[in-house]
């Protein structure tokens, strides 16, 4: 199996890993993917993928207002807010 580019995966997953973490996670992921590769021995031609255990379809509901937004309540748990807005570092100078 090819080496896994942990730094690339960390970028995709928005994680910051130290050099030591990259090396430990790299070894762990190699071992996990070797275990996972047992799957390749199984013939799955003409098998439909299973995404939902009961094969249920997405349920639709009437387009009616059923709840009101409690913004103040929800923002009580936010790290930084002002005037009902969530604050983040400046994105555009």
């Amino acid at each position: 199996m090819a080496d896994i580019d942990i730094q690339h995966l960390a970028n995709l997953a928005q994680l910051e890993l130290s050099q030591q973490e990259i090396s430990v996670v790299g070894e762990d992921l190699q071992r996990i993917m070797i275990m996972v590769d047992q799957m390749q021995a199984i013939d799955t031609s003409n098998v439909e993928p299973l995404a939902h255990p009961l094969d249920a379809r997405q349920r639709l509901r009437p387009d009616q207002i059923t709840e009101t937004i409690e913004r103040d309540l929800y923002q009580q748990g936010a790290p930084a807010t002002a005037d009902g807005l969530y604050l983040v570092p400046r994105v555009v100078e």
Binding site: L9, L12, A13, Q14, R31, V36, E48, P89
Partner: protein, 495 residues
């Protein structure tokens, strides 16, 4: 007072005024205060709220409230959102998170009069089989505090086994109710996928996550389940399957099954390892009760662990992308940019196993690998489900061990994720297939409990519970408690 009663016994005691809910709740809170420093089963104990709820339940009981759960104290895994109460999911990410709403399962139990004792410890984001991945510290197994209680719902299993709560809620994605139930010597049910609403349950792997119950017997589980199960419009995958039996459970005691065909998967029974003696003796008990045991085959079950770790990792990496340090949860200090805010908040907030699963899932979903891993796993998931459906054409239930061994020592597997994942070998297949499954105590090895797993067709919880109740009429394994004459435990058996 004696808090070690069945739920029916507690309900009778409350109705006959032998004790009040306030007295019962206070007695359990006192035991939690005494034992929790050593066991670490609870992350948050809600003593004040519990006593208020108990007083309200006492008033309702005096007014003739009919619910069997009215005034009964329960513990909830800290994955269920509870309005106004901290909900951490075992993570630094949610260490300060006060849920602004209630999970459907716990809200329904509250409406039935149940009292919340507190929020139990768990592996971070329910990822783990030993409860050693909690930001709030590992949980002890009450039978031997050098051993793990199992995971991820280890705190709930520990609380019930140690007598700190008569029943507790857990969640099961790949075995997180059944495995800790087996390790702690209690009964645990993972219902059919979709049977209990996932609304307000912190998401791990949404096509697998299912809430369930720990208690000291199948009968006690049947007392709790109907009060939390059933269709919920707030969960888009909630099942609309109707089941009159479930409603009847709220007023009638659980029956016992005395006949039926039980399948023994040959892939498991050819090498049972240390579970051999207890599984074989459980088979004899079931045969003597009137069940017919037959061999069945689950040919793709060996691929269940790789299949599961791809699907669960992929769904976890997607679900956990919501933790961005912006709207709720942990935020790093002095972020220099939006990207820095995301990255450091997530890296500080998540523990090692959560990062490992996110990265596994990200890899499986990344360009060039989707077909080889994620799609492949979904196809194998179909084959595994077809194996079960074919077996259930011939048998009513399937039995298996719950775990390959007794509870392992703390620290033994923390550095080997693949060895840790192998612990779930018997529980994952039913999770992938969305089937109801439960673990009940069926023996001991070296004085520590082992579990018998019962797996049923979709929505066959009645059959599972009635078969378990029959087994528990014939045996006393479920009545053994940690710390009671452990040397004699291996010889305890049929009554």
């Amino acid at each position: 007072m004696d808090t070690d009663l069945s739920l029916a016994g507690l309900a009778t005691g409350l109705r006959e005024r032998s004790f009040s809910s306030v007295e019962l709740t206070a007695a359990l809170l006192a035991q939690i205060a005494e034992r929790n420093p050593q066991l670490n089963a609870f992350i948050t104990v809600t003593a004040d709220e519990a006593l208020q709820q108990a007083a309200a339940a006492d008033a309702a009981l005096a007014g003739g409230a009919s619910s069997a759960l009215c005034g009964i104290p329960l513990a909830y895994k800290d994955i269920f959102c509870t309005r106004g109460v901290r909900t951490t999911c075992g993570s630094r990410m949610l260490e300060e998170f006060i849920a602004p709403y209630d999970a459907t399962a716990t809200a329904r139990l509250a409406a039935a009069g149940a009292v919340m004792l507190g929020k139990t410890n768990m592996d971070e984001f329910a990822m783990g089989s030993s409860n050693e991945n909690s930001h709030f510290g590992a949980v002890a197994n009450p039978w031997d505090d050098t051993r793990v209680p199992g995971g991820s719902s280890g705190g709930s299993a520990c609380a019930v086994a140690a007598g700190l709560a008569p029943a507790a809620l857990g969640t099961d994605t790949g075995g997180s109710i059944r495995q800790p139930a087996a390790f702690c010597g209690v009964s645990g049910l993972k219902p059919t996928y979709g049977r209990v609403s996932r609304y307000g349950m912190v998401a791990f792997a949404s096509s697998l996550d299912q809430a369930g119950v720990f208690a000291r017997s199948a009968a006690d589980i049947a007392t709790v389940l109907p009060h939390m199960a059933g269709f919920d419009p707030l969960d888009s995958t909630s099942s609309e399957h109707e089941d009159p039996w479930l409603d009847a459970c709220t007023t009638q005691p659980l029956g016992t099954a005395r006949s039926g065909r039980i399948g023994l998967p040959k892939q498991y029974f050819r090498d049972l390892g240390v579970t051999e003696a207890s599984l074989q003796s459980a088979c004899r008990v079931l045969e003597a009760s009137g069940f017919e045991l037959v061999d069945v085959s689950l040919p793709h079950v060996d691929a269940a662990i790789p299949c599961y770790y791809i699907i669960a990792g992929a769904e976890a990496s997607t679900n956990l992308s919501r933790y961005d340090g912006v709207r709720f949860g942990h935020r790093c200090d002095n972020p220099q940019s939006l990207e820095d805010l995301y990255r450091r908040s997530r890296s500080e907030g998540f523990g090692a196993e959560v990062k490992r699963r996110i990265l596994t899932g990200t890899y499986a979903l990344s360009v060039g690998y989707y077909d080889a891993y994620y799609l492949k796993a979904q196809k194998i998931r179909r084959l595994i489900q077809q194996d079960f459906l074919a077996a259930f054409a011939d048998v009513d239930l399937i039995i298996a061990p719950t775990t390959p061994d007794i509870a392992f020592k703390r620290g033994d597997l923390v550095d080997d994720p693949v060895a840790m994942y192998q612990q779930d070998i018997y529980t994952i297949p039913a999770s992938l297939a969305g089937l109801p499954a439960m673990s009940i105590p069926c023996g001991t090895h070296r004085g520590l409990p082992l579990g018998l797993q019962l797996i049923g067709p979709h929505f066959a919880e009645k059959r599972l519970l009635e078969t378990a109740a029959s087994f528990q009429q014939q045996t006393d394994w479920h009545q053994q408690r940690p710390g009671q004459n452990p040397q004699a435990a291996d010889s305890g058996s049929e009554t």
